[in-house]
């Protein structure tokens, strides 16, 4: 009689358990760090926002919505909120409009595509603090090249970063400069994904002009990309911090105060942890609201497949 090799066939249940066990082992480090480093602290932040804790204080008290009430009357916070929202409201549409135009121009031909794409994308990979420093000198009121070029056409020198009238505009300009490349690259990817056949079909259907082709094929099929671009750019704009920290520190006189900078100041300069937490919660709420608008309201209208 031959020695039969014993093959133990696992039962369905034992296989399932084996798979689950393996899965948990694989996920353990990620799951643990997810809780310890992201979800847990976020929950802690929420709780902290309801306290009056300051770093170094011996104990803390639960004050419920006290911080939030203070926020509504705090002039610095209100400027920060207003500035941040108008920053988003200016930089986002400008970057997206210009970015789409640039993407269409680059994709509209064959020459130098990769070169232009690389150039426009440079600001996205650059150390913003360093580039902001360069911008600071470019925008210097008396000896900066920008003002001197303007002087050549007869425009009086503008105090770009030093006057409360112009500081947000300057930050917005740098914001568009910073975000444009990101938008360009995303739109370029979206444009290449449009099946070329549709343009052939459109041509045969009588779409003669570039505008016709844009309205019939390009814009509708860029729908999902556009939605993603809008969301991502809006969130990137909400997170504005580096340029403020490097160039204005919120000044002059809080004229360039923004949400994250206010949160940083309250938490790490004044050590009002509870209050800073409340600002952060507001920030998070706005981000979540944006994501909600994207998924619930717009997403369905934009995906056709």
């Amino acid at each position: 009689m031959r020695d039969a090799a014993v093959i133990r066939v696992p039962t369905r249940a034992s296989r399932a358990i084996g798979e689950a066990a393996a899965a948990w082992v694989l996920c353990a480090p990620a799951a643990i760090s997810l809780f310890l480093l992201l979800l847990g602290p976020t929950a802690a932040l929420l709780l902290l926002s309801f306290t009056d804790w300051e770093l170094g204080a011996p104990d803390l008290a639960w004050i419920g919505l006290g911080n939030y009430e203070e926020l509504t009357t705090d002039p610095v916070f209100r400027i920060a909120l207003r500035n941040t929202i108008s920053y988003v409201g200016v930089v986002m549409p400008l970057s997206i409009g210009l970015g789409l135009a640039v993407a269409l121009l680059i994709e509209g031909g064959v020459r130098l595509r990769a070169t232009f794409r690389a150039i426009y994308f440079l600001p996205v990979v650059s150390l913003l603090v360093a580039m902001a420093t360069a911008w600071q000198y470019l925008l210097h009121p008396t000896i900066g090249p920008v003002n001197r070029l303007l002087a050549m056409v007869g425009v009086a020198p503008i105090n770009w970063l030093g006057s409360s009238d112009w500081v947000m505009t300057s930050l917005c300009m740098i914001g568009v400069w910073e975000n444009l490349g990101f938008v360009v690259v995303l739109f370029m990817a979206g444009l290449t994904a449009i099946p070329k056949e549709l343009y052939a079909a459109a041509e045969l259907d009588g779409a003669r002009s570039a505008l016709d082709r844009f309205r019939l094929v390009t814009w509708p099929l860029l729908g999902p990309t556009t939605l993603f671009v809008v969301t991502i750019t809006a969130i990137r704009c909400l997170r504005v911090f580096d340029t403020v920290q490097a160039l204005t520190r919120g000044g002059p006189n809080n004229a360039s105060q923004v949400l994250l900078y206010a949160m940083y100041q309250e938490g790490f300069s004044y050590f009002r942890i509870g209050y800073s937490a409340a600002i952060t919660v507001v920030f998070l709420a706005i981000v979540l609201l944006l994501m909600l608008i994207q998924t619930r309201i717009l997403d369905r209208r934009v995906h056709y497949a």
Binding site: A200, L204, D205, A207, R208, R215, L216, L221
Partner: protein
């Protein structure tokens, strides 16, 4: 059939290269009005490029295209009064079926200003034009049995339904010609057969000149009035399906059409006849003695006999109504396939020695460079 060049298509001397690769070499053909012509050939032979040149989506390096007597070579696709059905349908995914069908009419009949969403209602006559467009869309939808699908989007349709919407979009314009680029290749086999019939019927009803590109020779043969066989950028033969099948002018044409593939055997011309291995075929070719040629024998032309080409049965394939016998010839290093009836093939077993014959009229002769040579029966003198 009387030749009315009213809306016929003429292609003269078209050449096209991509970089160093020559894709089309001096292709000329003339279509009669209302004809259904297939451009058939293996993948990469240039047929789709030719179609796109006729459509105006590509420009030829040389040659002219005339549609309805008008030289359209310099015109863009939108101005050529042709419609095209694409392999992947190319339907606008964000529009409903009725909107898809309406696009060609909307783009051509409504001015640019009229197409702006709000302004359109201010322009006089707009409502009338829209109503006319609606009526035509519904007409086309009826003809293609799409009436109940008008409000759906392409993503909600099956492959066959999308096909019909693509056809409808072409139909709705009543163009001078239809161009179809392998429209059935994305459908499964069963759907393909049914849609084939539908397209032919549609063509019969609409009577529009149609150029149909396919790599499937069955489609080409079953659907067309005439077939143009294109290989390696050259138009090898243009004729009715029967002509190109029974009378191929080139070895490549013979090899491409017909399933299973024609048997090609090497032979030598002698004063006594064509020597095929050990056998002598009772025919002569107008070639010097010793010239090499190829003999083409279609599987259905071969039958079992008591003498003829000697072969050994290697493999049998049962097709239901017929049997394919694959055998190895004794005389030459070659295999042949013969299509036999059930009764004839019944007694055969693997390894059996058989003899195969064919009627001399069914034998196709091809010269050294693949060109067709007409054979003369051996009884006749060569100088008669």
């Amino acid at each position: 059939m009387p030749r009315d060049t009213g809306r016929a298509i003429l292609i003269e001397g078209v050449e096209k290269s991509f970089g160093k690769t020559s894709v089309l070499k001096d292709v000329s053909l003339a279509l009669r009005e209302g004809e259904f012509l297939s451009l058939v050939g293996p993948s990469g032979c240039g047929k789709t490029t030719l179609l796109r040149i006729i459509a105006g989506l590509e420009s030829a390096d040389a040659g002219r295209v005339r549609i309805g007597g008008i030289d359209v070579t310099g015109l863009r696709a939108a101005d050529r009064d042709i419609a095209m059905v694409f392999q992947n349908y190319a339907l606008y995914p964000h529009l409903t079926v009725s909107q898809n069908l309406a696009v060609p009419l909307v783009m051509r009949r409504l001015s640019a200003l009229e197409r702006v969403p709000l302004l359109r209602h201010l322009i006089p006559g707009h409502k009338g034009r829209c109503a006319a467009i609606d009526a035509e869309v519904r007409g086309a939808a009826e003809m293609l049995r799409l009436g109940h699908l008008l409000a759906r989007r392409p993503a909600e349709l099956s492959g066959g339904q999308r096909q019909r919407v693509a056809l409808g979009r072409a139909l709705v314009r009543h163009p001078s010609a239809f161009l179809m680029d392998e429209p059935l290749s994305n459908l499964d086999a069963e759907l393909r057969a049914g849609t084939r019939r539908e397209i032919v019927e549609l063509h019969r009803r609409a009577g529009v000149t149609t150029i149909y590109v396919t790599h499937d020779q069955v489609e080409a043969m079953t659907m067309s009035d005439r077939v143009a066989v294109i290989m390696e950028g050259e138009l090898l033969q243009l004729g009715t399906p029967r002509e190109v099948y029974e009378n191929p002018v080139d070895l490549r044409v013979a090899g491409f059409l017909g399933s299973p593939r024609i048997n090609i055997l090497p032979a030598v011309a002698t004063p006594e006849g064509i020597r095929l291995g050990g056998s002598l075929l009772p025919m002569r070719a107008p070639l010097p003695a010793g010239a090499r040629l190829s003999v083409g024998l279609r599987p259905e032309a071969l039958h079992l006999a008591r003498d003829g080409l000697a072969a050994v049965v290697e493999h049998q394939e049962f097709l239901g109504a017929e049997v394919l016998i694959h055998a190895r010839l004794d005389a030459v290093e070659a295999r042949v396939t013969a299509k036999l009836g059930i009764a004839a093939a019944e007694p055969l077993r693997l390894g059996d020695a058989i003899h195969l014959r064919a009627d001399w009229r069914d034998v196709l002769l091809f010269g050294e460079h693949g060109q067709r040579i007409l054979a003369i029966p051996a009884e006749t003198s060569l100088d008669a």
